[in-house]
Symmetry: C2
Subunit: 140 residues, 2 copies
């Protein structure tokens, strides 16, 4: 499920932000997230492509943030996963003789775009560094 | 899929808005939407509960909008379907010894709430009457 993937990605990146410069491997991240390391590795591959994490290969290798946590926001993470939107036009062929049916794809595309824009605008305000501060405060 | 259901609901209600006071049955709505009448009837049941449509029973029965199209917005429709959000906290048990894991559910709940608020705020600006006007313009 996509929503789980976004939450998992935010969790992983927050863990890396809290660990500062230290490398973490997929096993320790999987323990923190309470999931399978395979899920984490698949996710790290997407986050690497989006230039949010860097991988150091080798026995004592692992991953770390590719930039400062204050330079990463939730919009970056969301876009890295290209998730299925909860609002999208239908993918069926319109009924040619129905005016509503013919206009609907364009109308719903506009609605989907507007919704995504609103979502991304909010996510952009949420910095990864704010999330890691919340973890510190919750455990103070 | 939830996104299809929202798009289908918007389609159905736009069709009813375009048909003004005339009753439409699930068969004609299904033809317009290009889906099975069963899908439409299931949807109409949710839209009836949300007081967006009224059903007239009987042989020549059907459904119509329960209020003016200008009094219905896409937020009303979205809430009527209580869809799965694309951003939500993970439902797994946190790893008790991990500070990030313990704080994550609360953090992601806040993010999910913020995202939903942004989405609903946008959907509230989109009136059903605007959508039916777009249909008329597209077919003028």
């Amino acid at each position: 499920m996509v929503n789980q993937q976004f939450a998992t990605a935010v969790h992983v990146l927050t863990a890396l932000a809290c660990n500062k410069k230290e490398l973490m491997n997929s096993d320790s991240l999987a323990t923190s997230v309470n999931t399978n390391p395979v899920v984490i590795r698949r996710l790290l591959s997407l986050l690497t492509k989006a230039k949010l994490v860097n991988t150091v290969r080798g026995k004592s290798g692992g991953v770390k943030l590719a930039k400062e946590a204050s330079q990463i926001n939730l919009k970056d993470i969301y876009l890295a996963l290209s998730p299925t939107e909860s609002i999208a036009p239908r993918d069926k062929t319109p009924h040619k003789e129905c005016a509503v049916s013919c206009a609907m794809h364009s109308i719903m595309s506009t609605v989907a775009e507007g919704t995504q824009k609103a979502t991304l605008k909010y996510l952009e305000t949420q910095k990864l560094s704010d999330l890691s501060k919340k973890v510190s405060r919750a455990n103070a």
